[in-house]
Subunit: 173 residues, 2 copies
DNA sequence: GATATTTGATATGGTCAATAACAATTATCA
DNA sequence: TGATAATTGTTATTGACCATATCAAATATC
């Protein structure tokens, strides 16, 4: 329905040349000049981030994993036995907001909260067997469908340079 | 719920590392290993974006301009006489969400909505004199306090390469 | 002139980020 | 030891964004 409507609009606009246009050759309204905006770090950074996340979600549609959820699984796999506070703070997630996130992952049997025997306040986080399997598949999808796209677009050397510069900004800006 | 035996061992072991290291001096829990996360494009991109926006807000504290507001002012200055729909869509802002944003800028006398004489449905956007003056100051702040920081961190050549790669991602990913 | 489309606007719901507060548990120290 | 403080996970709540549906006024289309 949306597609057909859009198609109709385009068809109509491209088909009519009778109306009093400013420029008979240009059927579409002229695009705005971005100007200095295209050189602004924050602007281009935000746009790139949105595109990358969007592509990530498409690649992971079969596994239903968001970038944030993927990062949690990766971090718990690499650091099994840490509690919620540690994992959340490492990812820049506030503890209250981490609760619902874990509820989701735990309800899907991807990770588990285990009451620590040393400190019975804290919940130790571990990946379930299913969680490990899903993460393995997720890594492959990300590598072949997502990160590989960067190599196609920038080349291996530029890709590494980009990651390096972004890391530097994230850590030292 | 099926929790493997290895998970219970982890729960017991979890406190040992930090507890055993608890000297009379300082007992810091060891930082988590980021692992593959530090190589993930989306992760490092998002972290960098947050840091950049955070720094932007600090630099613009005296003018009380957010990155989104700054982009609107820049775009309206470069393209005076365009209507709300055109400006909003260029910035990836949905028309309904653009209304409150303009209400804010207009209430601060930074820009104005003018009823178009050609199409009395649309509001033409223009910067006020105050808006032009504020934008001029904003540009200087961004250039000297914000973007200059990139040069200090990456160098001129790398900075340009970074912007170029991010633009490419934003447009072609 | 009847119908459809566009524009700005309102209302609303969803996702996140951020703060305060609470019970249970543990740490501190007088 | 016991009173007090701090920590952990949690709930509730708020505000900032993002997205969709819908509306009246104005315009375009046929």
């Amino acid at each position: 329905m949306t597609v057909s409507k859009t198609a109709e609009k385009i068809a109509e606009k491209s088909g009519d040349a009778t109306k009093g246009r400013k420029d008979a050759t240009e059927a579409q309204p002229e695009a705005l000049q971005l100007g200095e905006l295209s050189e602004q770090l924050g602007y281009v950074l935000k746009r790139a981030q949105l595109k990358v996340f969007e592509n990530f979600l498409r690649c992971m549609a079969s596994l239903q994993l968001t970038p944030a959820q993927f990062s949690v699984l990766l971090l718990v796999e690499k650091n099994p036995g840490r509690n919620q506070t540690e994992v959340a703070s490492t990812l820049g997630i506030l503890r209250p907001n981490f609760v619902a996130m874990l509820d989701n992952l735990e309800s899907r049997d991807l990770c588990a909260r285990i009451r620590s025997t040393n400190d019975r306040r804290s919940h130790i986080l571990v990946l379930t067997d299913k969680g490990k399997a899903v993460l393995t598949r997720a890594k492959k999808l990300v590598a072949t469908k997502h990160e590989a796209r960067l190599n196609d677009l920038l080349g291996q050397a530029n890709r590494e340079a980009l990651i390096g510069m972004l890391s530097k900004i994230a850590n030292e800006f």
